[in-house]
């Protein structure tokens, strides 16, 4: 009799196990264009299509508010009034300006500074058919305009100002992150427990996968033209944001000029890094913090440490991969090119 119970248990277990892999939960997926990039959503649960549309509406609203690539919106308003006192702004813009300030303070503006806009505009990297290095004189003239402390924020009255004429703010380094947090809020508000959004490479994961396992997020190989990955991290309820020298750049005489401008020198970053990936709860802060890219490996890692609640992956130009202690045992090298070395202990 015992034997039969044993057999029946095995039989039942096998059927259940096999059945489990058949009955997978379906997700709703959508694709759209906003923020100058592609937005992918994957939502598990009821009303997913409607929720994804609400998310897109929100993203486009934030884009209109924070863009400097089209007329109108808050940031243009702030820039047009540079040196002319306070202007009334949307509380959302104020909130982004505040987070930008917090992240800038961590490096005292060495890594991340939203007032680098005049130089971003001068270099215009990735926006023109005939890229060129601007004259050194022109760069030298603009560098003194860069100072995030000149963005004064009056939170109580929802207004802000830029201290000096000619100064400009560009939220390109943080707006995508903010939009990611906004979308996650929309998911939560609608009762979604499990979703993932990818805003042009900025990943925000809500909860875990429906089966309770962590999401697998691929980290792109910074030198792969076909978008291959170098590794995978498992995350639950986290944002994963990368800054690198490969998203937008031009090459001239064998030198790579990437789209991220060093706020202190006024030149494209050349820090010995190809990419920095930040993993933390806030996607806005992850976006800002990923500009640790500007500082190079050692100082960049220090910056992440100072922030305290983030993990990070640094990839150097000599193709070595470094991770923060909290990612050891989580980051998995998946490098088809066999060119990268994962340095587990420094």
């Amino acid at each position: 009799m015992k034997k039969y119970i044993c057999f029946m248990t095995i039989l039942l277990a096998s059927i259940l196990l096999t059945a489990c892999s058949i009955g997978q939960v379906q997700s709703y997926k959508s694709e759209g264009f906003a923020l100058g990039t592609i937005i992918n959503q994957e939502i598990y649960g009821a009303n997913a299509q409607q929720i994804s549309e609400e998310a897109m509406t929100r993203i486009k609203y934030l884009e209109d508010l924070m863009t400097i690539n089209a007329p109108g919106g808050d940031v243009n308003k702030l820039n047009e009034h540079a040196g002319q006192g306070f202007v009334a702004l949307n509380p959302e813009t104020i909130s982004v300006l505040k987070t930008a300030r917090k992240i800038s303070d961590l490096s005292e503006g060495a890594a991340f500074d939203i007032t680098v806009a005049p130089l971003v505009k001068l270099w215009n990297i990735g926006q023109t058919d005939n890229p060129a290095v601007p004259p050194a004189e022109a760069i030298k003239k603009l560098v003194p305009l860069v100072n995030y402390r000149d963005v004064q924020i009056d939170e109580a009255n929802n207004q802000a100002s830029l201290a000096r004429a000619g100064q400009m703010v560009d939220l390109g380094g943080i707006a995508k992150g903010y939009a990611g947090d906004g979308v996650r809020e929309i998911y939560r508000k609608n009762g979604v427990k499990s979703a993932i959004i990818n805003l042009g490479g900025n990943v925000v994961a809500l909860g875990s996968k429906p089966d309770g396992s962590a999401w697998s997020i691929g980290i792109q190989d910074p030198r792969s033209e076909t978008g291959e990955i170098v590794g995978i991290v498992k995350v639950t309820d986290k944002a994963v944001v990368t800054s690198g020298d490969y998203q937008r750049y031009f090459e001239l005489d064998g030198k790579r000029y990437c789209h991220i401008i060093d706020p202190h020198t006024g030149y494209p970053v050349d820090s010995g890094l190809m990419s920095v990936t930040i993993i933390t709860s806030s996607s806005t802060e992850a976006d800002g913090l990923s500009k640790a890219f500007v500082l190079g490996l050692d100082k960049g890692l220090e910056l992440v440490q100072r922030y305290g609640q983030a993990e990070a992956i640094f990839i150097t130009t000599d193709k070595k991969i470094y991770v923060t202690p909290g990612l050891r045992g989580n980051f998995r090298l998946e490098d088809k090119s066999h060119e990268y070395t994962y340095v587990e202990e420094r």
């Binding site: 059927i15 096999t18 264009f33 992918n40 990818n198 691929g218 076909t226 978008g227 990955i229």
Partner: protein, 128 residues
């Protein structure tokens, strides 16, 4: 368990259980395999332009976009790619052939996406 204690009926039960497990596994594999045709989608500005079963393509086929940014997409058996594009960076063309489920190539300026439906087995999303 002592083998000598097994009776004929036990063996039949053994084989029966084994057979059921094998059948279930086979059925499971087949049911996923049947949905395993490589289906490619071409989308322009979010709208589906064409859906192609790549396993059923016999002759190479070109898809042309003449409005705005000129583009040519080439479809062959089991694969699809951007062949030419008038966009600036040509990231879409550099992406090369898409050959497996989850592969995707995007032309941002033209808002054209080609992709092969299905899940990437490896990752849920890619940070870049």
């Amino acid at each position: 368990m002592n083998i000598r204690m097994l009776k004929k009926g036990d063996l039949i039960l053994f084989l029966g259980v084994g057979l059921i497990i094998v059948l279930l596994l086979l059925w499971n594999n087949l049911s996923t395999a049947s949905g395993n045709h490589l289906i490619a989608e071409v989308r322009k500005d979010g709208e589906l332009v064409k859906k192609i079963d790549l396993d059923k393509v016999s002759e190479p086929e070109h898809i042309y976009f003449e409005e705005g940014i000129h583009q040519t997409i080439l479809v062959e058996k089991g694969r699809i790619r951007f062949l030419e594009s008038d966009c600036r960076d040509k990231i879409c063309v550099q992406a090369g052939w898409l050959t497996k489920a989850g592969d995707k190539a995007v032309c941002m300026p033209a808002k054209t996406i080609i992709k092969i439906n299905g899940e990437s087995q490896q990752t849920d999303s890619i940070a870049f």
